[in-house]
């Protein structure tokens, strides 16, 4: 299968007065075309930083190194103007809390028009509106929504409007950042089905779906990447990650999820003790999960050397020294 996005040893830091916060510190992954890659992790693990930086690196974010190949082109080397035409039309993002970020003084129609014009100067207004009208109908929104102000819409409707706007130009890659988190379970399901339908119809090619909720990812993702403190912990297919996790962190994360046959009275779930490290001026050496890890397979090595992503079998990557002797360990 074709690879749409390939990220190699990517580093993005935050500039602060006290030094660098190493939010993304050497991440490797790829997204195939026509797949949903789910990214999960605790708050502060860098999942939003990663997705935002792929679209636009702006202060206080700084690009520290690595390559990002999108459709064969390294976008970290592109100039501002080239990136502007790529953004939104080829790779689009639904940022966290996007539905509350629409300008309250503009009608939906105007918001759509302004946004499209910003990235594509040639397109005519009627054309934009007619595409939007068609898409709105498909997601069960009536046409007059175009003439409404954002405050006049309910949360579920706003989320649908945002999804239509973000995919209007049929982007190849859509990054969806926590789009289901603020929604009720029924709207969650609707949003996800909508996304799947957009993929079936070819409005979007591939999706990076970011959430802290593994049970949502289980419903939609083809593959899952688990992040911990700015590093990749594990990558595998959805079934592999949920049913047979390898990294100690993933194991504990999956263990802590509520399941429909577990009750406090009968069996107690366990959380993960401790908390993620502060990434300000954090040394790049050593495994970042070391402090909380119950395994510490080789304490000396774990503490001092950062585990690379071992490919234990084709497509299955784990960053843990316990798998150094895996099928393709280094």
């Amino acid at each position: 299968m074709e690879t749409l996005l390939k990220v190699k040893d990517y580093k993005v830091y935050y500039q602060t007065l006290k030094g660098h916060v190493k939010a993304i510190d050497g991440v490797d992954f790829f997204v195939r075309s026509r797949e949903v890659l789910g990214i999960a992790g605790e708050s502060g693990c860098g999942k939003s930083t990663l997705s935002n930086s792929l679209i636009n690196i702006k202060a206080p974010m700084i690009y520290e190194g690595g390559e990002v190949y999108f459709d064969g082109v390294d976008i970290t080397k592109l100039d501002v103007n080239k990136m502007r035409t790529l953004r939104y039309t080829k790779m689009s993002i639904i940022p966290q809390y996007a539905m509350d970020a629409m300008s309250p003084t503009k009608k939906i129609k105007r918001i759509i028009f302004d946004l499209v014009r910003e990235h594509d100067r040639k397109i005519a207004e009627e054309e934009i509106i007619s595409i939007a009208r068609g898409r709105f109908k498909e997601v069960g929104l009536v046409e007059y929504v175009l003439n409404k102000y954002p405050v006049e819409l309910s949360g579920g409707m706003k989320q649908r409007v945002v999804m239509v706007i973000s995919t209007l130009m049929n982007p190849k890659l859509l990054i969806a950042d926590e789009i289901t988190s603020a929604l009720d379970v029924s709207s969650q399901k609707f949003t996800i089905e909508m996304l799947e339908e957009f993929m079936d119809k070819g409005y979007v090619d591939s999706v990076i779906f970011i959430t802290h909720d593994l049970s949502v990812l289980y419903q939609i993702a083809d593959r899952i990447m688990i992040m911990y403190a700015g590093n990749v912990a594990e990558i595998g297919t959805t079934e592999e990650i949920i049913k047979s996790p390898l990294h100690p962190y993933t194991k504990m994360l999956v263990e802590s999820l509520p399941k429909m046959d577990v009750q406090y009275k009968k069996k107690k779930l366990k959380g993960i003790p401790g908390h993620p490290p502060n990434l300000l001026n954090y040394p790049s050496e050593g495994c970042r999960f070391y402090e909380r890890c119950p395994v510490k397979i080789n304490p000396q090595k774990c503490k001092l050397q950062k585990p690379p992503l071992f490919e234990v079998k084709p497509g299955r990557y784990v960053a843990c020294w316990a798998y150094a002797e895996g099928e393709k360990g280094e």
């Binding site: 605790e42 289980y218 994360l253």
Partner: protein
């Protein structure tokens, strides 16, 4: 044991909106239920179902429009002065956003100081010891808490500090309003387990308000499902989940994401039934009428909450009709697949 800690009788809260239009929103509509000592009740509903309003009514943050809340035999709306303070010694709340419950410029110790200032003046000498005790009960190390600022702690820790704070008082009933919805999966469980432990060891009752059915199932003894201000189904958690009777409960259970099973793909027309249809809600009718796949003519009159099996009540004509005939065990059978 037939003790009742809290009894809610015909409780309603009606908000009026629009001065000229005379619009009326019934946030809580004729709620009736009881809470026993050492019982965890999960109050489940989507946004706008009135679950938070119900919690606020019990905390006396707002006044009921109709009906009564009776705590230990006393109507709480009649409480004043010292007896109201006494009530708050027993009934406390913890809310959704732990970060906004703390003032960021003060150390976290302050939330304990406030309690001592207003409720425990006579015990100030033993303050540190008492606080340390309470913190240990919520599985926190006192040394990690004293002298810290809110930003130095995780959301889960802050939430447990707030629970510890209620323990300093003689809390019998804790209203926990979405206390874990902002927390990471890895710390959620710790907070839930804390609630379970307090119930077992301190015999505290908890009203656990949540929109997440899987978390409700894990911790609760009793489940109440709310829809648009109405309690549509309530009963033993085990019974409600293994044999959901109200169509709304079934819909909710079918869309809960878990790692046990994948969603069935719904047909397009079914999908839109997840939302409110254009059908007008019928005044005095079943609140779920406009979304319900089983809606019948009788549903234009509001069904009352009836006991179908022991410890399991539902407000639905269709469910009452099929009583006797085996109700479908939708959720558990899907689970087995």
């Amino acid at each position: 044991m037939n003790e009742v800690l809290l009894k809610v009788e015909n409780l309603s809260k009606i908000y009026r909106s629009g001065i000229a239009a005379g619009g009326v929103t019934t946030a809580v509509d004729n709620a009736n239920f009881e809470i026993k000592p050492a019982e965890i009740v999960a109050l489940v509903g989507e946004s706008g179902s009135g679950k938070t309003t119900l919690g606020k009514l019990i905390l006396r943050l707002i006044k009921p429009s109709l009906g009564k809340i009776i705590y230990n035999g006393i109507d709480i709306s009649k409480l004043k002065g010292r007896r109201l303070v006494e009530y708050y010694r027993h009934v406390q709340g913890v809310f959704q956003d732990p970060f906004s419950s703390f003032n960021p410029i003060f150390k976290v110790d302050r939330v304990f100081d406030l309690i001592f200032d207003s409720y425990l003046k006579e015990m100030k000498q033993k303050k540190r010891e008492l606080i340390a005790n309470a913190l240990e009960k919520v599985m926190l190390n006192p040394d990690d808490v004293f002298g810290k600022y809110p930003h130095q702690m995780s959301g889960g820790q802050l939430q447990r500090i707030l629970i510890a704070r209620t323990l300093l008082l003689d809390t019998k009933l804790l209203i926990a309003d979405e206390i874990i919805s902002m927390l990471d999966a890895s710390v959620r469980v710790d907070v839930l387990n804390t609630l379970g432990k307090l119930k077992d060891e301190n015999k505290i009752s908890v009203i656990f308000v949540t929109h997440d059915l899987s978390l409700g199932y894990y911790i609760s003894d009793t489940t109440m499902i709310m829809y648009k201000g109405n309690i549509v189904e309530m009963g033993d958690t085990e019974k409600v989940y293994s044999n959901p009777l109200h169509p709304y409960t079934r819909m909710l259970l079918s869309v809960v994401p878990t790692v046990d099973r994948k969603w069935e793909k719904k047909k397009e027309e079914e999908l839109f039934s997840l939302f409110e249809s254009g059908k007008r809600r019928i005044w005095n009718g079943c609140p779920y009428y406009d979304r319900c796949p089983l809606a019948m003519e009788v549903c234009q009159k509001k069904p009352s909450l009836l006991e179908i099996e022991s410890g399991h009540k539902v407000a639905c004509y269709a469910a009452i009709q099929s009583k006797g005939s085996k109700a479908e065990k939708t959720f558990s059978s899907e689970n087995e697949k």
